[in-house]
Symmetry: D2
Subunit: 456 residues, 4 copies
């Protein structure tokens, strides 16, 4: 099954007729590794005697330069916008899109929109050049500034048309990708030759299909800094317990990876696992009490979205329309202190929330490379006329994913019955109510994760 990605070449046949062979680009680079229309990459790689999962698997078009370009580079005005919360690598993506557009393809102009979707129509854009973006990849945050909400397809398309933008690069999370899909639909309806390409950004790693999202690796690394501080604090106290709350609204990817990487965590709580075990939250906390009694200290890592079974869902939504989560860390801290006190072990419980210090660092080496691959893939896709498309890594190859599919399958979550969770349990020795997890998995309306994310 070959996933079909929309292209302007279908909807604008008269323009396609004028499409050009890839010319030697501005920088003098021409591509030798051209990707054919029929080249795809499969997600499925497992086999067993029960059957080869590759059989009915979906293949996604490989990303990369195409022989036939839809746009004449010198006619291209590209726009780029970053939406939602911060994530390491945003500036790398901005830089790399700009460099690929200007230096590799020689497009006319790249405009940077400020402050998310709302900035496209609400603020004057900046012209982004090789000079103005030099070195920004070494800075955290986004030079474009980012914001949630502000999506309004009419206003956005109006503004883009006025500016002559015919390629829009959108960097954002699943809310943003929903906007991307809606925008693409409106574009089709209006018959505008505008390519809309999404570069999924989620520090939580909860966009499905792709191997891993950019910034996630850096986020785990920075979260580990907090976990290490937590270990020192706990071990330097008499019967000390540290609670570290890491990001992960719906998915415990950061929490589980930080736990496995640290090797020093005694309890890991994630949204995918119930806090209530055997009818009581006390069970997991009693485990911690036992660890403290035995070793003198303990460390807890908790994903911010954990504990919905105890805390209920918040009714508040943020500007992006996402339901806010009730932060679970302080609850764990208080309950833990009470349990320790009751056990005669004092109440040395410390709470660490490093989130803003995690989000704001620059991309590490691996994420920098990932940002480059995705940015190049996005520009190649737009130049070839693809639209309503996202770029992502699938089994270590850059691929093109229909934005509708990405939206439909996200947010993904850690497989609560899978090997990663089993590894966590094995590292922490924390109690795990298999039946409860199965029951919950059955009714929880979240999309199950790609089974190889995280690597297993």
């Amino acid at each position: 099954v070959f996933a079909r990605v929309p292209t302007l070449r279908d909807t604008h046949p008269q323009l396609d007729a004028k499409a050009q062979l890839l010319a030697r680009a501005a920088s003098g680079v021409s591509f030798r590794n051209i990707i054919g229309e029929d080249e795809g990459v499969y997600r499925a790689v497992l086999t067993s005697s029960a059957g080869d999962e590759r059989g009915a698997a979906t293949a996604f078009p490989r990303a990369g330069p195409r022989h036939v370009l839809f746009f004449e580079p010198s006619q291209v005005v590209a726009g780029i916008v970053t939406c939602g919360g911060l994530c390491p690598g945003l500036n790398s993506v901005v830089r790399d899109v700009v460099k690929t557009c200007l230096d590799v393809y020689g497009v006319r102009r790249v405009l940077g929109f400020h402050g998310g979707y709302g900035g496209i129509y609400g603020k004057p854009p900046s012209e982004l050049t090789l000079e103005s973006t030099r070195g920004i990849q070494n800075l955290g945050g986004t030079v474009l500034s980012s914001a949630r909400g502000g999506f309004d397809a009419d206003k956005i398309l109006g503004a883009l048309e006025q500016l002559g933008v015919n390629q829009l690069y959108v960097v954002g999370g699943d809310g943003t990708m929903r906007g991307c899909a809606a925008l693409s639909a409106a574009v089709v309806k209006r018959q505008i030759p505008l390519s809309v390409v999404g570069i999924p950004k989620t520090i939580d790693n909860d966009v499905d299909i792709i191997d891993v999202s950019f910034g996630f690796d850096t986020a785990v690394e920075e979260s580990l800094r907090a976990v290490r501080a937590a270990c020192v604090e706990a071990a330097s106290s008499v019967n000390g317990v540290s609670v570290v709350q890491v990001m992960g609204r719906h998915a415990g990817f950061i929490a589980t990876q930080a736990t496995l990487a640290s090797g020093q965590v005694d309890l890991c709580l994630v949204p995918e696992l119930p806090l209530i075990i055997d009818g009581s939250i006390m069970d997991v906390l009693d485990h911690v009490v036992r660890v403290v009694r035995r070793r003198g200290h303990a460390v807890i890592v908790v994903g911010e979205g954990a504990g919905e079974d105890v805390l209920g869902q918040s009714t508040e939504v943020d500007a992006g329309g996402n339901r806010k989560c009730v932060p679970v860390g302080p609850l764990i801290k208080d309950q833990m202190a009470a349990r320790l006190t009751a056990a005669g072990l004092g109440s040395q419980v410390r709470f660490i929330d490093p989130s803003y210090m995690v989000r704001s660092v620059p991309a590490n080496g691996r994420d920098s490379v990932l940002c480059l691959l995705l940015s190049e893939a996005a520009v190649h896709a737009a130049m070839a006329g693809f639209t309503a498309v996202c770029v992502g890594m699938v089994n270590a190859r850059t691929a093109l994913l229909p934005v509708d599919l990405v939206v439909a399958t996200s947010p993904r979550t850690v497989n609560a019955l899978g090997r990663t969770v089993e590894r966590v349990i094995s590292q922490t020795n924390q109690p795990y109510d298999y039946a409860a997890v199965e029951a919950r998995a059955a009714k929880r309306p979240l999309v199950p994760t790609t089974d190889h994310c995280p690597p297993e």
Copy 2:
């Protein structure tokens, strides 16, 4: 005026008669730079036509090896204890005291007490050796673990006597130093030949007389990491404001130094300055609103003890008997958000509290050297028979300070009318009500700071 430091040689003349010339020590090192009894270092270094402040100044005995030792090294059983909250460098001090005792002087044993004062009588000590302490200086926290409270002179002296300890090294803050003074008094009363030496530890840098306390420099460095994250967060949002709460219960040393080091802070709030200016807290926050309006974002650094004029004093005390402070950061965050909203600038305010991540790192290079100098000074002092003494740097020389004097003059605070505060105001351009500060300085019962701390 030469500050007098108590010595066991006075109270135990019969033992002093047996005191030995410094022998070639275990490691084969003998000292060429012996400090004479009459050598001192002055705090005062300023002069003006109004008079030379050096005239009536106090000189403190220089620390260092003495010709006459009170203790025969092979008869020494040393004990070391770390009390109070974590501070970078604790493990360096433990390692350096152990190394100087065993390797330089060849004392018999060094015992490590666990969990602060209470651990001296409440838990079995560990024998600390060169091997068991190798490399601990690279770890944050304290391998001895630390705790507040637990001071009980009778129990402590009983335990020490039973273990044969005749030198006690106490690492802790001003509460701990008060214990140190009380313990020393009890020792004198009981006529025990026990040397009690304090190594002041305060991440807030609020112990007076000394140039700077160990760990402070590292704490500023780590706090800066949070300030930089705050800058990225604010600048990457539309009208974003970040609030960073740094440590400093009574004194704004970390807050002011981090502000000056960053060069990117727009408001710095410290315990020494009133929050209420011209009758309203709004004045400083209005300044931030103006910065946001002009530049699009702003950063606030606030010392945890700031805002007593708004928040009042907490009535709670911690285990060490220190009054807890009502954390001001969340208040600033909420008020700031309200002000921004009222000004039509949204409410993108983010709060960062990095404290545990700051306390738990290992000492940086400069603090590591400082820890070594202080540890050596402490061992030299104990070996020579000094007691009821603290060690500290005075004008970049190691010196001996009577513990009573240290207790009497601490906690020190940043001079609210001095050059450091003036520099902060000049960097941030924040409003500053000189008259209110003067009025407050007049009635605030805190000890004024040594005028050259921080460097000015």
Copy 3:
């Protein structure tokens, strides 16, 4: 095609008959995700109209716990040895193998051998426990110490037999894996029930089949620190050029990834590409002269093994039998200085060789997780009776690889005609002689790389 991995169950049928169902292990963890004998993972994931590469692809057995164990855990004495040069993550692997053996399976003892292969018979081993290995994952290097050479199958097997070791975990590079294969062969010949499991370690990432080797990601990150220093040095000089030599004896993985991650490199030289272009080394250096003339400075990254076409091969071999490479960095530095001088641009050329500072850091977060997955996979494999086997990630799943196959296909190299090199050229705009590369690729006796490594 399912890759066949040797197992002791075949060669020791009488012992296999006693093999036990996986019992609830020491820690109370039992596995729910048991891997079946028939489960495999394919390397191939690409498809095109020219044919689906998956057709004739090899599948490797998935790693993981098996239903039937060959060894009764309480009878197992495991040994672990680290060989060759340092690589980030060695201590993580030691810790994780120990923890999985002792805590998950409850094996009797784990012995650590010191100083590589030669230490197995030449030095008394240490008993490794949960306590003695706690926290070592936070330290760089290897607590076991490492060395090249020393392989002697007879002596090794003699020593292992004497110690009762029935599982040997070998961590090392391709030389070490060759030893691993030879040792396995000797084991089969002698009919000893000893499981030999390799965990490939190569900071250069040049072991084939696997996605990426542990420590590589950390090495790129640390190398980037040197590249950033190089950028600062060059940009702060008048017509400054910096040359950074990174590791990579046969393969330019670190050089190319660091170049792509940095975004600030003007010339990247790797072993896979000729230095001599159009008959002269000057061509690539002239490119740098042009960059300096245009922008005022330039940065060169060079893999240590580059330039064999200029320098020839060294005739020296190291203790592990690997031919030493003639370091190319100083040559580039000198030639560059001469070229700049000739061009009237001064001679501000600086050379940075960060290798030992790169090798010696602890594993970063991602590599820590990778070490855990590989260590667990290794222990699962040994417990199930597999031998002559390596563990590695294949398309993000842990897999079992016949050690003979790993040896036969390594070292791999960066595909000189592939997309990664094309990206590098596109980033640096350096001259690239396609014909020369093709000619060289045709005759160069190195194994071509797995085409998705690095991710493309």
Copy 4:
């Protein structure tokens, strides 16, 4: 004795008559802490019965804002230039001088000269603004670029006059300060109302009188990173020895401080101590052999200028006229390998030279504050009409130092007979030939160090 600092008010009485009372400056900041003409700070702080060293001591004028300004701010065109090798903090100084000039005093323009002295007349300057320098303090290197040599008083003064520059801020080492002195002399001769203010920059910390130079603390911190790598490398090898060469052409400040901070160094070699002991270099290396034999590994730190007694002096000079030093590290490495081989201990010796990675990092927190204090002091000095002056910290107060005195007393060195060296010996237990050191100290033509630098 009050050190006299030259001022334009003396040489230009007619202009002085127009000097203005300090007006409320551009930013709205006015100073409350005005420094009087008679306020000074003493270097000397020691006392003993042999006499109070404060008696005949020199006092230096305190730096800070003055009541009477020589320059009308709106008439000031300031210039700033960075000379010589890189040092952490250069960009901080540039930023802080610009901010103090523009934001605090409201001067008309600040010009940045590129590429050292030669750039003043050889290249067009850049206008530096608050906006163009925002955040540069977070970057290593110098945005102005730096170079050695190029000093030509006539050309420089010609260029400055043409640009209307009446304040010149010069950041550089002792060679640069000699230029500063020469320039000042030429200014006096020509009767130009140009204030020349030096901000001493020396990563080696070898400018005398001042407590410590900016960037030094950061350099020790970064050098420690190399020392830690060296420890890991050595300890992970069988009989491994690591040699780290740190900066320090004439003075061993970095080497000794890094040694004391690390606590893991076994031999520290500095220019101030002879390598040849008892007639042979072998003595210190034999110490290392003994350490290796006992503990299995060892670490050597060596300052680049050490070993002149073995290597002789180089006859080469660099562009700044400084005699190049023959790097001693490789010699030590080779000799050490030979000794180990001879002792039957293999030859695992590794050499690490981190210099460019040390020089190029941004200033740490403490150095950032130091840069601010010095920059402000420099601007205050220039505005008040001082010239031929350097700024520096003396006993933690900013002070004004006659540039002639600074030149005459530099480079300073570590006191080879002092307490710091004694501490190093005590930490490393390395052999130390007291008589040879005394003999050498007697004849070595270097200026003896200020005795409290480093802190002791």
